[in-house]
Symmetry: C2
Subunit: 334 residues, 2 copies
């Protein structure tokens, strides 16, 4: 198949890659380049910074939601390794005016999401800043078998949990000066880290590759493709779309040409659903049990083939030439 | 003895304490409140944010030093648990203008300190900000026996490694518009995390309580006192002072009354030396070997007694009434 030029990795990845080979240590099994580092004795660890006016805006979220969301995003990295959350730590960088109630509400939100997913709040530090609010959240988890981005094999099917594009739609509404409807807003404000879903799937399937959708489907699938040295072919018409009017798996409009909702689902970030690959035929038998248990669709959206990069096909099997870049944290929110 | 009202814990501690009881997890042996969290199977983990104009200034440090220093501070937390460093992760929050060479130099400095202390660079993320540069560094280490702040016992002696007050002196010089001399500057710009020293001591001694001096001796000793439910009596005349003219253990001037250098050593932060307590008489036998091996003094600066808080005595054994608060990150640099 013809492949688009490599997608995905943007500036933040380049900066870390420039320093390969990184210092290594025998107790670090997997270092930079996956959703989390994998440490000896089954630990995984990641760090993620949420920055005001880059990743969120104060007029969009309450302080409690800002804290909740930063923790949920961190926990999603643990889910993306098929690990069970153990602990969160936070470096909270606060403008002076936020000391007091605002900071407490942030911590309340963080505590709520930690409690909700069985993680301890195991420490951190708080410091003043003259600039925007920053929450750098460390997530730790445990697993006997971390699922990496690098295990996708030609012949695998590509699956996603849940509905895509909701968070991007919320951002779009806010930007247009509208209030997103509550279900759309919740997709952005309180993303659901698919911790239980990842553990459930990993117990029942051999997951070959796994990632969480933080940057957007195209961008994140490209990470799997790149790490696994394969190509991924996405069927745009199979993408489960967030829809305000029609909960469940939305149907793409007939003859769509990357309509707005599909574009949001392909390139919009912040959904924090899971994308994984597994051998063809292994997921279908547990699909309906998953959907009932988690009240969320499990959708086959593509396949892994030999090659490199990402290919997007429309409902007629024609290649979509309009190559889309994923969510880029360098120009989105502010 | 008479005790001063409780010193130490400032706003950042209050914020975390307000949320006790924090969510817990059986794999988190020690959570918030020590230099690092202690996890099952011998891991320790901490996170520390360095914020431009709060913890450092661009006109004081090169980009490489900013990276080095942030990593050294993180490694110092690992040393403060008597653990061996394994890995660093970084959340690097960058103003747009810093992409490129400046960011690369930060990463070079971080890589240099990781290499120097045997730690892997195991990941992280980079994100844009409209505000000041923030480096949130996660440090991971391993130890079979983490030394906490809470183990000090009446009858212990209190010891510190190295010389104190140098980093505070450098800051003082910069603020006065002067360039600190190279050795003073280095104490601030490239603090030496006492990783090897902590491991060496822990192999030879039963360390009862251990902390690194980030906030200043009085403030950090108060953390030990508070965590251990004891009082600590500091002999101000025994504090090993950083001196530009006289390397080695400086003598306090006769009849001093909290002269500038002593005040810096008591309250100035950022030295990243170790402070520990051990049973009386157990340290003296290995002191000279330590001093030769590490080319740094090992000084008995006080004792642990029943009670609460910190007491500071002058060279005549009189209580110093001028209670000093430690380095407070909420008003120092900017």
């Amino acid at each position: 198949m013809t492949r688009h030029s490599p997608l995905g990795p943007g500036r933040e990845f380049d900066l870390i890659r420039r320093f390969f080979p990184l210092p290594a240590h025998r107790d670090v099994i997997v270092g930079a380049g996956d959703d989390a580092a994998v440490l000896r004795s089954g630990w995984v660890v990641s760090t993620d910074a949420s920055v005001e006016n880059v990743h969120f805006r104060r007029d969009w979220l309450s302080a409690e939601e800002i804290g909740y969301r930063s923790g949920a995003i961190a926990l999603s990295d643990v889910a993306a390794m098929a690990a069970a959350p153990v602990a969160l730590l936070i470096s909270l960088v606060l403008p002076a005016a936020d000391y007091g109630t605002f900071a407490e509400q942030i911590m309340s939100g963080l505590k709520r999401v930690a409690n909700g997913f069985g993680a301890a709040l195991a420490g951190g530090d708080t410091t003043r800043t003259e600039g925007p609010l920053v929450l750098a959240v460390v997530a730790l988890g445990r697993t006997e078998h971390a699922v990496l981005r690098s295990g996708a094999r030609p012949g695998d099917d590509v699956w996603v949990t849940g509905l895509l594009g909701g968070a991007a739609l919320a951002v779009q509404e806010w930007r247009a000066g509208n209030q997103p409807d509550p279900s759309t807003r919740a997709r952005y404000a309180e993303p659901l880290p698919r911790v239980r879903e990842a553990l459930w799937l990993a117990q029942r399937l051999e997951l070959h590759a796994l990632i969480d959708l933080s940057d957007g489907l195209v961008s994140d699938a490209a990470h799997i493709a790149s790490a696994s040295n394969v190509a991924i072919c996405i069927d745009a018409s199979a993408i489960p779309l967030h829809s305000t009017s029609q909960p469940g798996v939305a149907q793409p409009p007939p003859g769509f040409q990357l309509a707005g909702a599909v574009r949001s689902a392909l390139t919009g970030g912040d959904d924090y659903e899971l994308c994984f690959t597994a051998a063809r035929g292994t997921v279908q038998p547990i699909r309906s049990e998953f959907e009932q248990l988690f009240n969320a669709p499990l959708s086959r959206i593509g396949s892994v083939v030999a090659g490199r990069g990402i290919e997007i096909m429309d409902e007629n099997g024609n290649r979509v030439e309009d190559v889309l870049s994923g969510y880029d944290h360098f120009g989105t929110v502010s």
